[in-house]
Amino acid sequence: MLIKKPSDILPSEITSETNYLNRRQFIRAGAIAGGAAFAPGALGALVPDQRGAVLPDVGKSPLSTDEDLNSYEDITTYNNFYEFGTGKDDPYRNAQDFEPRPWTITVDGHAEKTGSFHFDDFIKPFDLEERIYRLRCVEAWSMVVPWVGISLAEVVKSLKPTSKAKYVAFETLHDPVRMPGQRRRVLDWPYREGLTIEEATNDLSILAVGIYGKVIPNQNGAPIRLVVPWKYGFKSIKSIVRISFTERRPRTSWNMSAPQEYGFYANVNPDVDHPRWSQANERRIGAGLFTPRQPTQMFNGYGEQVAHLYKGLDLRRNY
């Protein structure tokens, strides 16, 4: 197990976190005093439906890294989102006309609170937080992205999964009219991903709705996407329309496409190569032409938070 000091956290971030909490408490107190604790918009995540609009009330997190951020341009023009094409700049070019509203999220399976929810209602009970995470793609490149999202652990808790819920499965919208990349069967649509319930309720897991403090662009998975930073990027499923609590391990898209190359866990692991390329190091996007690749860290550097989830598991076999 890799034990790493949380050197990522700046003292300034902790201070602002306190300020932020104080302010939230103040608002909460006011809302309760006004007898409107659960009234719409009184509290919680509010995501405007205009493109690129600034997200209000975004808190900071001690889980954020202080590494140099990738530029907004890099993050929003270099994407793997096959629903909009398989080229790296296809999503940027082909997702411009996509309308991520109205948006419904269906919750089903082993949970008490199932049904269909409008996006705004779905996220309203939760607080927006900025999470600056490293993103490591299975193709051996990486970025640092300032996501804005809500805690997946809190979402899962609020949906009250039953004891039968061992996994959380996710599905992307399947709509070849709005997502032109789905007109060709490059993958078995809809895109599917899944986590164990322990992974889903880990502190690091978020559902992101923004980047750089603004509404998440279509090409990055609007209006809501998963972010699990200790796993290869393909696990962080975009444009989610279904969340299912299952007893058995759900099928996942890349695993279905090439099981010998992409496992269910897909934890970042420099010691287990992809059959066709090494995972020992990575190219940081935005670095210069002559900047060498950098070593890849176990669990993408998040071992402290997640290594315990895989105790006793053979990571070479469970890749």
Partner: protein, 209 residues
């Protein structure tokens, strides 16, 4: 028909410059003069040189069929130049990988060549191209005689290895390598057909019916 003089002093230089344009565009894009290489410039340079390499191999392989089908015999005068451009672009692809992508980390490079089959076959194709480029001079050609012909037949293998190399590193969407594979199949299929026809004219006629 174009006169020998025109061919040598006008047409050939124009074709030469045209073949160099994609390389020039990579350079000007690198400096942001014409466009940009995007968020991952090393990957973009690598991919562009690689695909140009495959395209030029296919263009060089198209010369003979085109000459025979159109009867425009002067096309043969471009074959060596086009083949050398294929070598140039594949070599630039290799250099980009070696210097920019791998940063001359020899340990990793050797491991890649041995352990990653798609890189192994790419290296085999490169070695064959180097051998052909090194023996492309008239004098060597005359000295080598039939052995020259034999060596330069390996361009067919280079075509197969090149497209295979491309196909093998695709994650899920094999549309583009499949297009190159079909063009290659047509170009090689034409030669097989011609050869059969030469050996047994009647059988070939029957085959087309």
């Amino acid at each position: 028909m174009i006169s020998q003089k025109q061919l040598r002093f006008v047409v050939k230089p124009i074709v030469f410059v045209a073949c160099l344009l994609p390389a020039a565009l990579i350079v000007t894009d690198t400096f942001g003069l014409t466009g940009s290489l995007g968020a991952n410039p090393i990957e973009e340079i690598l991919d562009r040189f690689g695909i140009l390499g495959i395209q030029f191999i296919l263009i060089a392989l198209a010369v003979t069929p085109l000459r025979q089908l159109t009867g425009w015999t002067q096309l043969a005068r471009f074959r060596r130049m086009l083949g050398l451009f294929a070598f140039f672009y594949v070599f630039m692809h290799f250099l980009t990988w070696l210097v920019l992508d791998r940063g001359l980390a020899w340990q990793d490079i050797l491991e890649d060549i041995v352990k990653r089959p798609f890189i192994t076959i790419g290296m085999i194709a490169l070695v064959l191209l180097i051998a052909m480029a090194a023996t492309s001079f008239n004098r060597l050609r005359q000295r080598m005689g039939r052995r020259w012909q034999k060596l330069h037949c390996s361009v067919y293998a280079v075509g197969v290895l090149g497209v295979w190399h491309y196909w093998w590193q695709v994650k899920a969407d094999a549309l583009e390598p499949a297009i190159y594979a079909s063009i290659l199949t047509a170009l090689l299929g034409y030669r097989v057909y011609k050869r059969r026809k030469r050996r047994n004219p009647r059988e070939a006629v029957l085959a087309t019916q």
